[in-house]
Amino acid sequence: MSIDWGEVWASAVTAAEGAVNTKAPQAKKYVRKIMQAREARLKLLMDVWADGALDEETLEQELREERDILEMEFLAVRVMVKKAAQDAANAALKVIQDGLLTGINLVA
């Protein structure tokens, strides 16, 4: 049995897109959640500072920590993006490998 290379390639692209589409809403939701959390947190810090409960040095330290947390959260986002890319590449490769095992018709 032989199958058409063009069809295999199109299926590989669809498989890769499917893998990315599965992860995209999850990534968007997570980014929104962390940004909302940081916004609430920064607002709280500003309120506390305005009330005089924090001195400038402590505020600066807290802001440094907030930046640190945001960076850590985006490192987690990077894992998600890399995993999506990995899943997409492997989904495409699997379609191609399956096609090769079946026998691709390479006649142009």
Partner: protein
Amino acid sequence: MRPLGRPLGVWLQLLLALSFVLLPGCAVTLVPEYDQATEEKLIATYESVNRLYDSLAEADPAARAYDGYSKAWADVATDLRVLAMRQKARPDNEESQKIIDRLLANWETARALHKKRSSRPEHRDNPYLDSQIALDRAQFEAQFSAAVAAEVFKK
């Protein structure tokens, strides 16, 4: 005359197709496999952090000196170091390594600050302010959440 009887483009496609099969392993790896032990250890360590902040918050302000809590600080630091070592042993795990390294560094900073304030006579009546407990606790919660998320996203 075509020596092999097929257009060159077809042979290139064939070569490309075969390379997918012949390349060792073939699967693309950008992140390591999900590690359940890492996730469980992170959650267990976060429990210890929460317990420490609970007991600090519950204690009378004058009884919050570092010495009474040094074991709890050290236990969490040890757990984080073990976690950091585990992450370094996993290939393609740069993000989790960085997160745990920063978590450990921030933990040691908070620990040093508690120790420093406890040693100063002007702070002995309250070496760890309620507001600081609340801030630090929330920040560590966010940091542990990021570390857990980075692991869960590998599933």
